[in-house]
Structure formats: C-alpha cells, structure tokens
Symmetry: C2
Subunit: 406 residues, 2 copies
C-alpha cells in the first residue's frame, strides 16, 4: 500500500544518510597514517583515547570497506579501497603470533606498532582475519590472498571439529564440551563468505560444513521450541546452571538472518520457517523490554538473574541484527507483522543510538535508554555492526521499493 511505501522510502533515505555519515566518521578518525591499520578506541567526538588495535576490529573494518566498495556504487572510491588495503597489510604483517604452536593463530590485541598484547584461546580473531582477506581478494582479484584465507579456514575447521588443543586452552575434567552458538554462526558466515558467487567447486568444498553449522545452530532451539539457549551440550542437550540457561537475544537474531540467507540459497522452506519463528520472532518476544523498550543483552530462561553485570543494558548491535533479520524476513515473506516489528525496532534504534552532533552511534545504553558508554569505538565496537546493518537494510529497502514501483 501507499502508506507503507512512503514509510519505507523515508526509512531508506534516513538509513542511506546514516550510512554516509558513519563511513565518513571512520574515514576521518580511525586511520593510522603512521603505523598503518586502524585506531579502534575512538571517543564520542572522534578523538582516539587509546591506541591499542584490536584484531577483530581491524579485520572487520577491512571487510566492511571492501564490501561497501564492491557493492554500492557511491562507495566505489579509491580512498576506501586504499584504506582496506592498508588495514589488510597491517593484519598480514602483525596479526599472526610467531610464538604460537600454529602459524595461523592470531593475537586479540596489538600495540599501535603491531606488537601482540593479548591472545584469546578462541577462534574469533582468525575468523575476522579470514573475512577480511577473502573480501579484499575479491576486490583486487588476488588469488594468493584468497588462498591464505582458505588455508586459515582449514586450521579453524581443525580446531573446531577435530582438536582444539592448539588454541592453548587446557581441557579440564569439569569443563564439558559445549556448543556455543557463536562458533557455528561464525563458521556459517565464513562458509558464505568463501563460497558466495564462486564456482561450483568452491560451493562443493564447503557444502558439508555449511550443513553441519546449520545443524549445530538448530540445536540451540530448546524447551520444546520455546527458547533459544546460547550454550548447549555437544549432543544438543540443555546444560545445567547459569551458562545453560543463558539467552542472548541479539545473537539469536543474528543467527536468524544467517539462516534466512542459507534457506534462500538452498531453497529450504523448513529452515526459513524455523529462522523466522524461532530465531527472529521468539527472541524479539522474550528479549524486548516491555517497560522501557529495546533489547536486553542477556536473560536467564528461567527468570533467574543473569550473572553478567551488563545483562539489562541495551547494546547497539542486537538492534542492528534485529533490523537486518526483520527486514530480510519481511522481504522474503511480505508478512505485514514483520514490517511492523521492523518499524518498532527502527524507531527505538534511531531515536536512541545515533549521535547527530558528532556522528556514528553510541554503543551501550542503560535499561532506561540513556547513554552509559559514550565512545564510538571500543574493544568490541568498531566499523562493523552499524554499517553492515545500514548497508544491508538500504539494499533490502531498495529491492522492496523497486518491486513496489513495478
């Protein structure tokens, strides 16, 4: 109808302008012309408050610049490609740990000049390294770089599916093997990254892994389909205690649109249904604060108090994931209640997170919706969730509006 078309047009204009502003913010404030790479700790006003370089965020920023360059005409600009290349060069030079048992293990955090400060005993630095290299290799058609991404991916798969001991975490007798949602989610994201638009052989190579990731993600649907739990046992059973009861609505929503993409590729309608009902509608139902609006960070499925001190905060990224998930679900199904939900999250997000004066979004609100941490970049917030959301929503809205016109 005309009303929703007008509203969608309005959203599209606003999102597009926001994306321009966000890209501009990081181009202006985050580039380290002296040592290469990106500053990741950037204050409210754009000033660098710490020169540590977090590897997750370096990789994500390279990926994001390349994705913008590659998919939106107005970002197909030399300065954006140059920034991505400079970031990738910094990563290739410094991210991998010479002291580790594996040549692929990456640090978590580097000094300004690239010396390792911290290393995590998990796979995520490596995941964002792979995303960066693969996406850049697509832009500059660098087969060595693509091969490097695939080689690191082989190491990741080994750590996840065969033997995690190379990550450096001792296996303790009371530490039961856990399926944490982040791991199959990240791997599914990488499978898509490494195969999208490539030939049959590439798709074939990762097909089995993709199906395994989906099965692992689906194990998190628990309690007769009434809850998504963040951690389950390796056989898909509920785990005891706070860790077993933990819910992370933003993570479930992100998994939701990953599954929607998978179902669109494979034509699997059953997965589409599960994605929408269980990973999108359900977490929005239990994760949304009816009193103050916004999505909680963590919840306990039995209503106990989570032990995470930040449980009742409203972080920016779950709202980004919800916007993508709802708009993608609407665009696949045209169910009007999904558009209604999108507009609800849209109103909350755009009235709370953007800093109109200084640019970009703040990241962490109190339960009541006031800004608690006012920086634009921090150890876990970089040039990623906001622009990825804005880019994807802009494109989804363009497609929806085009169909309207036809």
């Amino acid at each position: 109808d005309v009303m929703s078309a007008t509203k969608l047009q309005e959203c599209r204009q606003h999102i597009s302008a926001q994306l321009d502003g966000v890209v501009d913010f990081w181009l202006r404030h985050s580039h380290d012309a002296e040592y290469g790479g990106f500053f990741t700790c950037i204050g409210r006003d754009g000033k660098v408050y710490d020169d540590l370089k977090y590897v997750w965020l370096q990789g994500r920023q390279v990926w994001m610049y390349c994705r913008l360059y590659r998919t939106l005409e107005r970002f197909h600009r030399p300065e954006i490609l140059e920034a991505a290349k400079a970031g990738a060069a910094f990563l290739r030079k410094f991210a991998r740990m010479s002291s580790s048992s594996s040549p692929w293990k990456c640090a978590f955090c580097l000094t300004r000049d690239g010396k390792a400060v911290k290393v995590q005993r998990s796979i995520f630095s490596e995941c964002f390294y792979i995303m960066a290299m693969d996406e850049l290799s697509r832009v500059i058609a660098d087969q060595d770089m693509q091969l490097e991404a695939e080689q690191m991916m082989e190491q990741l798969i080994y750590w996840v599916q065969v033997d995690p001991s190379g990550l450096g975490r001792p296996r303790l007798p009371g530490d039961v093997a856990t399926n944490s949602m982040a791991v199959p989610m990240m791997l599914l994201c990488l499978v898509r990254q490494l195969t999208e638009g490539r030939d049959h052989e590439a798709a074939q190579k990762y097909r089995e892994l993709g199906s395994w990731c989906v099965a692992q993600i689906l194990q998190h649907v628990q309690r007769a389909g009434t809850a998504i739990l963040e951690n389950v046992s390796e056989s898909g059973a509920e785990l005891p205690g706070s860790a077993g009861r933990l819910q992370n609505p933003g993570h479930a929503l992100e998994a939701g649109w990953f599954l929607l993409q998978f179902s669109a590729e494979t034509g699997d309608k059953e997965i589409q249904k599960t994605a929408i009902e269980k990973f999108i509608e359900l977490p929005l139902e239990y994760g949304w604060d009816r009193e103050h609006g916004g999505l909680f960070y963590f919840l306990d499925v039995d209503g106990h108090c989570p032990t995470q001190l930040e449980w009742n905060m409203k972080p920016w990224w779950p709202h980004c994931e919800a916007l993508i998930a709802l708009l993608m679900a609407y665009s696949q199904t045209k169910r009007p209640e999904l558009l209604q939900r999108f507009l609800q999250v849209y109103d909350y997000s755009f009235s709370h997170f953007p800093d109109e004066k200084n640019g970009e979004w703040v990241g962490y609100l109190s339960r009541e919706g006031s800004t608690v941490l006012d920086f634009k970049g921090g150890p876990f917030k970089g040039f990623f969730h906001v622009p990825r959301c804005l880019l994807m929503c802009e494109r989804l809205l363009d497609d929806l509006l085009q169909m309207h016109d036809e």
Copy 2:
C-alpha cells in the same frame, strides 16, 4: 560528645544485627552436605541457582568462618568451625590442579563434585587458599596446615617476583610488565595473615616482602599526588591508554586500610598520613557520585569513558571497604570529618544494599541506586566483603565506645 556516642552506639547495634543475619544466611543456604564445600551462586531468596563452586569464594568463606569463630565470642560455635573444616577439606581435596606444571596451581571454578572447570592465569585462587588454610590452622592448631599455607606462599612469591611463566600466560612482546594494584595488595594481606600474633621469626621471614608490597602500592599514587591509578609500570610510571588511566575507587580504599594496619604495626606515621589522604580521602572525593550517591565501580582519570561496561554501577564491596577504611582512620586519628564521611557511606550502604526480607545484601546497583543483579552470591560475591566489613566495624565501634565510657 554525647551525640556522636549515641550515633555510634546505634550504628554498632545495627551492624551487629546485620552480621548475625548475614552469618545466618550463609549457614542456612550455602552448605553442600552431600559433596562438601559451599554453594556460591545463591539467589535473592537463598535458593541455589547454579552449583558451580568458585575457589576464591570457597577459600574466603573458610577464612571468614574461622575469623568469626576465633575473634567474636558469639560465633565461637561448633557448627561454624565444622563448616570451615568441611570447606577446607573440599579445597584441599579438589582445588589444586593435578594437570598443572606446579603442584600449587589452583583452579578458579569447580563442579559441585570438585572437578576443575576453569583456571585463571593469575594468583588469586591461591591467595584465598592460603588465607583459608592459615586462618583455620590457627583455630585448630594444625602445624601441617600452616606449613602448607607457607609453602604455597613461597610459590606465589616466586610467580610474582621471579618468574610468572608457571601461571600459564605467554609473555607477549607488546604486553608490558605491569604493577596492578591487586597483586601487592593481596600479598600484603597475606603477609599480615601469616605473621599476625606469631613469633619474631615469622615476622622476620616476611618483613622484607611486606615493605616491598607497601612500596609497590605507593607507586599507584600518581599525577603529583592527585590520583590513585589501578595499573602502573613496574618502575612506577604511568602507563598509556585506558588501562593506564583506570581508577577503581573501592580498590584504593581497601588498600587504604591495609596501609593503616601496616602503619599501626610499624608505627610509621608517614604511611598513615598517605593512607588517609591519598588512599581514603582522595578516592572518596573522586569516586563518589555527587548526583546519585554511592561509589562508582571504575573511572578514567582524564574523564574519558571507561571501557568497562559496569563502570557507573554501584557495587557493594567498595562501600564495605570504605566503611572499614573510614572507621579505622577515624579511630586512629579522631578527626571528626572522617566520622562524618563514615556516616555518609553508612547511610548510603544501609539504605541500599541490605535485603531486609530475605537477608544478606544485594551486590550490584545501577548508577541511580536500584538493584540490577539481585542474587546474594555469584561468581565474585560470596561470604566475605559484607561479613568482614561488619565484623571489623563492630570491633572498631566497640573500641571507640569503650574509650568513650572510660
């Protein structure tokens, strides 16, 4: 004067009643009769919401029971001694990691039946193990147990002063050696634990270490005496970035009363002055929220936003430390403004933290003072800060009131 004596008497009665209630809460809810040790995750109403057993909290609870048993007549009860012995037996049986390179390395977290779940690459589990064993050895006059505490202490000193590699953390090129306030504070606390009331030989053995700890703590006075910083370089210089600018007012206040105890033992008036002016009055000045009351968790000395998501929360334990520090400082100096400050913190604490209905204190308030996490025990909150504060304040008030009478 009569007014302050009446007020102090009123505080003393309230604190004493609170202590009875808190001890009763843990005696009723935290004992695991089946597997030994203590449940540490205890909900608002006293129910166990997770059966994980955190080693810090096991050790602290053994120490606290013994200290109560040993120093206050009304807690000299068989059930309290038996609980302490049961907790110590559980620790001795399960806390140490058989898989570690050192026979003294302890786990951070155990399953209900004592299997290691997590291990930290730091010294704190071991610190609370030593406190527990030494304090219990005093009660039951067990020299083997005392020797065990001293042997573990030797390992700790080696890790801190000679070579930390046995803790399992790889030394990374960008990770500069840091003097974190927690380390000399804990060691100073242990020096006092291992020497108090013992013979000259014991005092002699740890005298040098005690002086080293004090010197290390004093390095945290920075910015020409206007700030206590949580992390400094090993040579006592300010570190760059957020970590270097971090302030933790509660920690500074705790260090303050540790230094007051040290100055009282050694008769060092200069340290007493520094303790009061720099570690007690100063952090109360910058750490107190003038808008909503209460002590912030973290601050940045230059007014940047800290990166800790919980920075503006009001946790229970800094208020406990402030109460001890201010009352001890008042009792040593009789300066009326210290008593005023004590009463200010007293009013905030007792009107916000205690749960009159279910017993014990809640641990984590929002900046505005409402309860955000409503459990009584969690991964870092056990039977320790609240009862230690109440015990010490009760005794300090008794001494003050007795002097009044004389």
